[in-house]
Symmetry: C2
Subunit: 641 residues, 2 copies
């Protein structure tokens, strides 16, 4: 084993550097052809442009404040930001002058809206002027800024247009003047984390370290005493005790972040915070943050994560509850939270390849996150339960429209999650038919072409193109769930056990143009049990194949999915085409089926229901509710251990 990865710096490739086809290419097509424009249309229908356009009268309060202080209308800048970011990524893939023109118009509106001092927030400039920076705890002021920054970076990378980027740099410069520990500055941070990771993106694209420093300031201040949110409330004439979510755990400001070891509160907030912390840990090589992050990672993945990579079981706080409390039918498991987990996992790879992070990134990506977007890119899940009685369907929109653009921007930018690049190493975290262009820290320019129909099939060919031979390490993830993986380089078999470090097969050599790797990851269906402390999964198994969690749907199995009982292992399982979804693989498994036919009238009886032999068809969880509506079940009953 090599040294611990601490101290190294791996950064993602810019989105335009990876041309994606295959599985993710199809999903990106749907985002380009449908979602990108849909998002903007829905934002316009909601009246968001009326709020930012200073040429129109202020719309006033359109959406009531549901908890006294907060209204989803306060976050409209973030919805526009994420939508612009999605459109930007879609433009990398498919030019769309009409859509680009619409974004340009919105950017012009923001330019007109921006205050002379750089401040920019449509709620506080148009609805509640005079209240800026008075309630960071509740009003998402910096959160909105963060999403506009991410949009600005993406739009600049997509189009080369700097206007929005310059606007957001001016705003960031204004923040640098407002926040700080010196007298007259605000020693504050946002109630909804986001600005931290956005400032890192802004710093990376502009090369300005001052934005990194501001991100680090927000992270360093969080949870310090005297507590900023308490002081702020008192200054603002509010009772600090009157906080609708009761505890500062809700926004992870209950203690300084470096002391945190338990994942608590609002799930999306937590993921965005940890993402920002991981970025700062990488950029500053700050292992006081890494120590906290590693403990938080174990806390989340060992005790609080659905098998789908869904997180945050409760609707009440949109977040975490007790260890091992993972209800399936009432799972909140917000799409945004799994998207956020992908963000965090990806950033944990900033200190070097480690399967622990990449496996969970893939798990959350293909299951809890991707389920949030319909195949056609037009409808969206907000909650992602693991069981449905048939009434849970994707929305056209949501009163809090955070999830649609979040999953859309993730899908549209998936190329950035596939690789990590350091001075002398490229790590392949995700597999998908694609071509990537990377420039290593040592200057080597490498082109990697993946040929694969992963995740449906496990054969992955990787072609290396180089202008001139170069020495570097190519690290390929061998997922933890694989049994019997194999690898050849230029036809020569590699002993994986000899070269695998932290779950990555690390091939360090002088690479030449035309070198070719062939990785095989067997994708046999496997049954998975939950820790017996998860009461909701007791006596049940989930079936997975590769990174995909499978589920039973009424569309294939009729109603009454809890009447299905698996009694043997999955030896009798076989792959099956999934009608209507080309290339997709379903799984058919022998099972027993309990029947209500001979049951009679009474609701309770002293004999068990009759059982007959049956075969159950399972489909990938992320594809559920794309055909006919109906019941769905991930955790299937399993008897005899």
């Amino acid at each position: 084993m090599s040294e611990p990865s601490r101290g190294r710096q791996f950064r993602p490739l810019p989105v335009p550097n990876v041309k994606v086809s295959g599985f993710w290419g199809d999903r990106q097509e749907a985002v380009c052809d449908s979602t990108a424009e849909t998002l903007l249309d829905r934002c316009v229908e909601a009246g968001m442009l009326d709020q930012i356009d200073v040429r129109k009268p202020s719309p006033g309060i359109v959406i009531p404040r549901h908890s006294g202080l907060v209204s989803t209308q306060m976050f409209w800048d973030s919805d526009l930001g994420k939508s612009i970011e999605t459109i930007a990524y879609s433009l990398y893939r498919k030019p769309n002058p009409k859509l680009e023109a619409r974004v340009d118009e919105i950017v012009d509106m923001y330019e007109r809206l921006q205050a002379p001092d750089g401040y920019l927030n449509s709620w506080f400039q148009r609805i509640e002027p005079g209240r800026r920076w008075t309630n960071l705890r509740d009003t998402h002021e910096l959160y909105c800024a963060g999403h506009l920054m991410e949009a600005a970076v993406a739009y600049y990378q997509a189009t080369g247009k700097r206007k929005l980027l310059d606007i957001m740099c001016r705003y960031a410069d204004h923040m640098i003047a407002v926040f700080g520990r010196r007298p007259g500055r605000l020693p504050g941070y946002c109630g909804h984390e986001e600005i931290e990771l956005a400032l890192v993106k802004l710093a990376r694209v502009t090369g300005e370290r001052k934005y990194l420093d501001l991100a680090k300031f927000f992270i360093d201040e969080r949870g310090r005493e005297p507590h900023f949110f308490t002081e702020e409330a008192l200054r603002d004439g509010r009772d600090p005790e009157e906080f609708v979510f009761g505890t500062y755990e809700y926004n992870q400001s209950h203690m300084p972040v470096r002391e945190q070891r338990k994942v608590v509160g609002h799930a999306v907030r937590a993921m965005y915070l940890y993402s920002g912390m991981a970025d700062i840990a990488t950029e500053y090589r700050d292992d006081t943050l890494t120590t906290a992050l590693e403990a938080l990672w174990r806390d989340l993945t060992d005790k609080q994560m659905y098998v789908t990579g869904g997180i945050g079981p409760a609707a009440s706080n949109e977040g975490f509850t007790d260890y091992y409390d993972l209800p399936n039918e009432s799972a909140y498991a917000e799409t945004c939270a799994s998207v956020g987990l992908v963000f965090w996992a990806n950033r944990m790879l900033g200190r070097g390849p480690d399967r622990r992070y990449a496996d969970v990134m893939e798990q959350a990506l293909y299951n809890g996150a991707l389920s949030g977007l319909s195949l056609d890119g037009r409808t969206f899940f907000y909650e992602n339960p693991l069981e449905s009685a048939g009434k849970h369907h994707r929305w056209k929109w949501h009163h809090c429209p955070c999830c649609p653009p979040n999953i859309a921007r993730l899908v549209a930018s998936i190329g950035a999650y596939m690789y990590g690049v350091a001075d002398d190493e490229i790590a392949v975290h995700l597999y998908c038919e694609s071509v990537a262009e990377a420039t290593l820290g040592n200057g080597a320019k490498v082109k990697l072409a993946q040929e694969t129909s992963y995740p449906w099939k496990g054969a992955i060919g990787i072609g290396v193109s180089l202008e001139s031979p170069a020495r570097f390490a190519l690290s390929l993830r061998v997922p933890g769930w694989v049994k019997g993986a194999s690898l050849t380089v230029n036809g020569e078999a590699i002993d994986l056990s000899a070269v695998t470090e932290r779950g990555y097969a690390r091939i360090e050599r002088q690479w030449a143009d035309g070198d070719r790797l062939q990785l095989h990851l067997p994708l046999a269906a496997r049954a998975v049990w939950a820790d017996p402390r998860v009461r909701q999964d007791a006596g049940r198994v989930a079936v997975l194949r590769g990174p995909l969690v499978y589920c039973a749907e009424a569309a294939d199995n009729g109603p009454g999915l809890n009447s299905i009982v698996l009694t043997d292992g999955l030896e009798g399982a076989r792959d099956k085409d999934l009608s209507g979804i080309p290339g997709a693989v379903a799984i058919e498994v022998p099972a027993l089926r309990e029947t209500a036919e001979g049951w009679g009238d009474g609701l309770y009886g002293e004999s068990p229901p009759e059982r007959r032999e049956d075969r159950v068809v399972l489909v990938p969880y992320h594809l559920w509710d794309n055909r006919a509506p109906g019941e769905m079940l991930v955790w299937l009953r399993k008897e005899n251990g």
Copy 2:
């Protein structure tokens, strides 16, 4: 088999006619010694007396209107009414001059409050004068009246004092002047049923048929078109569409009651309506109501009732959802709803003994209702889930304090549920150590003394005392769950199959003083499966013994109750003393136990948890959370059918 029971009239015995000891006697002691006074104390602490006492300034709106129109403060008369009713029953059992004096004072306050025209409602007289009879849909105006009527009847029967009874007769007379189909009258009814059954009680104690007629009017009007609640809203300047519960199913006014076949909406409302309908069906021999009630009964008990007799799974409407939707951990199953089911079942016996009704009455009474009251009578469940992760405990009080006095008045008046008396027949519906005095319609005066420690043991001796020999039928319920019941009369064995009609052993003969029956109901533990369409109970059994549903508690079994697996039948089960609760019977059953010990770190694994042999201790559901707090589980995992 005799003729269908339709056309016959069985009425309960007045509460004072049954002296209860044994199982229910102990619970009544707790109500007399603790609950009765506790209820009144809590009503006073809540400020209810300030609202009814005209010598004090009006308290104004103390409790905010949580859904725009409704506040629990509007129901305070009902809380006082049910508390007075409970106290009245407690006075039958145990004189308590201090408590009686406190009630007298409240009655005096109501006397002073009553308007010259007879109207009486503390909210509309003291908080919102001028608004009376303007919003029957939401404001519980007649509901409050109903509970004060029930209190008046009980207090009169307990003390012989007529003052509250006279007050409520004046109020009922006022209603007769207000309601009706003639011009100038209101063709209305209450959004929360209750007045109907209360008027029947008032009619029975006063002998005034006009009160029955008014009850029948409210029932006949319900759900007719043009819809009263729609017309009323328009008259009141409200938009009828702005009904927070969305549908008139919520209060069972979606169609005329005689056309209703599906149990819908708010569970307590439904039970109170059906109770009133059953009373009117009995009093008027109105079988157009009976037909609807029988269909509603099947709908509820075959498709919508927990094994505990809990009903109404959802918190959102405090009521019914879909057929076979019976979630255990999130079960609302309000105490009041099971109490209401006892009321309804009892009234379905008005047309003659029928085990279908009495079995469910007993099931709801001993489980879903009784669980609402702690052994010491001091704390109360509002929701009665069938599974708890350990955070569900009885409250000292509740912001909507409907349940505490409801279960208390049921326990304190349980004698009235034990017997049904007709012209020439006495039916014994429930068994408990007790002495009852009944006068039959034919004039015979009968005293029945039950000697039994039921429900812990199944031997029931019944002694008959008569002033002079008399011919009548004595009908003893043989519960549907019994296997191998036996009966002797004066030592002579009776062939139960020959004399059993609708589940009652009907012994019709010339009875003489000193006659003695001995009934034996074997109480072996039995496993019960749910209809396989109840997805939440799939692969699970409930264990019952006699009428009692059993559950596992952490107090006996440690945490992780879903790691318990039953694999065989209950042949290995044995009764066991329940430490700390004299007389009570626990059950010990061999089981397998899954253990987290060898599980390791990951949340998901590819091997099942290890299992070891274990014995699980089950305790009566109604007794749970009376010892140490912790997990609870009714439906235990069961493998192999």
